[in-house]
Symmetry: C2
Subunit: 453 residues, 2 copies
């Protein structure tokens, strides 16, 4: 396959306090991907956690990702993957072992894949996800390949038509190729979550991670997000958000409704209601501001003793926690996670379901300077979309001839959010404190993307 | 209070086939609203169902609504209400019976209210809702009046400050006056739904209705919607949608997830999965297109015998039904509704929760020709937002001096969607069939709205 016109670039920084004693040795290497499917032969495509401190390299699909380690901790809970995904069309009746014999180029659909995983409770789940998710996506796409190569997905994957009106039913539901890709991404997240659960149980590991995955396939960019990472498309005149964040704050009503439907999940230890602050004895009998699952607005309720329990969702902004434990409401892993000193499971309130947004290149005139930025919350806590866009535009403008401008730009964004060391603190230019979270950034040029496939 | 500068206008048409044998006599008159709260003394503020055929009047708050009956049926399942809502500030310790003594004007907050209710299974629920919802809203607003008259809602309704940082907690959560109004509207819908349930049980009535309510209060327009009616703001250069529709199609994932969490609700009679068409024996063993609650996209699943059950959500477009029964997924009433010939209740899948959208007049320069259009699905099935907007603009432009132009415009919109009688059929100008649903339209001029309060 042709080399990439412009290599995407990844930079990452890890922060003290987020490190873990986990090491690569604790991770069971996944089965190698079968022949021909991947550029490069490393079982781990990328993986940003254990690169040497201070290194940063431009990336090509299949090459290990480059990493900036901020030298604040030995390990980084953020992980990254970048690779090309080739989707095979299986011939009916052909055995699995014979797959390598399919060599004809037009039997392949090639896509690009970039993903970021922000681990919590250690990097283990993020490491597994960074090794498995693209494998799950590849598998799920291959399972439905007839649905994404036909102009209209057939009602029956086999192509047979049991009811003569089947094509009409599919058309009436407005089911398109891209819906089948979205479905495959959704199912791949579910499968990856299950694999992480099995893997973690078998190896007695724990923890979870967010997942943000971008897939370029057939002229469209699919961005699947479960967690609080973010993807934006920076263009000359505009910034296009390509993901939404899923946190206990943004998903309050879903989480409260689950507690309403299944109150046993709170084991009488938590209250479902949200209040502006934790209530105390003096509040009993008073009418205070509250929200329940059915409310986008706020009401007043008379405080009862039961309202003094710890709230299911508590805190504000970045400090908001689910069951006093997690800062995200979607992601992979956390199968064994319990609220400290209780038997209350956090997993039922978490969702592995990604939200998938689609950006169709056919209806947008992508220019040379248009780039996709994927980053973990460590960047977005410090820089707004508009600030990132301004940095991107001015950096590209000043470094137009530098072949490594995109990786340098990723490094620049990470360095900006990381700040500078001032004694034992890290501060930003205006002396405000920098983020103490891990920071990972992908900068991906989108121009002439099809020429690479 | 000053008379309205421009009277809002309502027009409605009822269609054959949707009528019911219910009559006004079956409806228990609600307790009269207490003194001073309303302009006009009729216990039913508006109520579009039983006006004489062919009549159409301009409306002022408190006057009975005008109605066009399309002469296709005796009764109209659509109902309408239009009135002014005055919110009293209760003095602490003052008994309810002494409320009428509060006469000082600045102790009132005045708002305007317009609402449409589209009944199903008879007009009974719509009639009760059209009589009660504004009463519930008034009551809920009065309960939290200190939260909507202060610059910032206090943590404690009493205004006392138990924790010195309480104002800061409220500020951190970014709780504003309008959030308390939204909460009051949400709670009012809930209370109205409960009242309908009690009323219907006591009088052995049945049925439900959608509810679309617009409230103008303190310089903001609040549009609360539960069902498939729609509100748009027509401006010179733009159309601003002020509501979203809630149908089994738009709420598929919420409804499927409930069935996943509480499978007993389907009593083994329905399948949770959505397919492009009802499956049959020949499909078993095949891989067919499907969607589950976790999917916005489509996947392929191998059909099992259990998948041949009737789908929880089935059909497409306007024909989509919940449990084979209802075409809407939010609304009031339907407490006794069961799937025909079974004990399966529909109510658990319905939601009384409205979505509330806020339009702040302070940040938009409202012009003389800007109007709010509220209409039931009978209009929107035939005319798009843009078609309605074009009719509105050209009608107002041609009838600038007519003091009844807004009611004439409402009548014009209803007549356009109703079509013309051609033998036993009703057809549109292009000979395509007209809607056979009830059609109700409010046209509400928004300019100088504050001068009326």
């Amino acid at each position: 396959m042709a080399p990439l016109a412009s290599a995407p670039a990844l930079a990452a920084a890890s922060r003290a306090g987020n490190g873990s004693s986990s090491s690569a040795a604790r991770f069971r290497v996944p089965p190698p991907l079968r022949g021909g499917a991947w550029l490069g032969s490393a079982p781990r495509q990328g993986g940003g956690a254990r690169g040497g401190p201070g290194t940063c390299t431009a990336q090509r699909p299949g090459e290990p990702s480059g990493v900036i380690n901020a030298e604040k901790s030995e390990f980084n809970e953020d992980q990254a993957t970048c690779c090309q995904i080739s989707i095979r069309r299986r011939e009916i009746g052909m055995k699995e072992e014979q797959d390598w014999m399919i060599l004809c180029a037009n039997q392949y659909l090639a896509g690009y894949y970039w993903a970021l995983f922000d681990g919590h409770g250690g990097p283990d789940a993020a490491i597994i996800a960074s090794n498995y998710l693209h494998y799950c996506i590849k598998q799920k796409l291959e399972e439905v390949v007839e649905g994404i190569t036909e102009a209209q997905p057939p009602m029956h994957l086999s192509g047979c038509c049991i009811c003569p009106s089947d094509p009409q039913f599919v058309e009436e539901k407005q089911i398109q190729q891209e819906d089948v890709v979205i479905g495959a991404l959704e199912n791949a997240f579910q499968e990856c979550d299950e694999m992480i659960g099995q893997e973690m149980e078998a190896t007695n590991q724990s923890g979870g991670c967010t997942a943000l995955a971008a897939l370029y396939l057939q002229g469209k960019l699919y961005v699947a997000n479960a967690g609080d990472s973010r993807a934006i498309l920076v263009r000359k005149q505009s910034v296009v958000p390509l993901s939404s964040e899923f946190t206990p704050e943004t998903e309050r009503q879903r989480i409260q409704q689950l507690a309403f439907l299944c109150p046993k999940l709170l084991a009488d230890e938590f209250t479902r209601f949200e209040f502006p602050r934790r209530l105390k004895g003096d509040d009993v009998g008073q009418k205070v501001l509250y929200r329940d699952y059915s409310m986008a607005g706020w009401g007043y309720k008379t405080v009862e003793k039961a309202d003094l329990k710890y709230p299911l969702i508590h805190g504000h902004g970045k400090q908001t926690r689910l069951l006093g434990t997690l800062a995200v409401s979607r992601g992979l892993g956390d199968h064994q996670l319990k609220v400290i000193d209780t038997d209350i499971e956090v997993k039922p309130f978490l969702s592995y379901i990604p939200q998938v947004k689609v950006f169709d290149f056919a209806s947008h005139n992508i220019k040379e300077d248009d780039v996709l930025v994927l980053a973990t919350d460590g960047l977005w806590d410090i820089l707004s979309n508009e600030e990132v866009a301004q940095t991107v535009r001015s950096f590209i403008d000043k470094n137009r001839t530098d072949p490594y401008r995109f990786s340098e730009l990723a490094r620049c964004l990470v360095h900006t959010a990381r700040g500078k060391k001032n004694g034992h603190q890290w501060i930003l230019d205006g002396n405000s404190p920098a983020s103490y979270d891990d920071i990972s950034v992908f900068v991906i040029p989108l121009y002439n993307r099809d020429e690479d496939c």
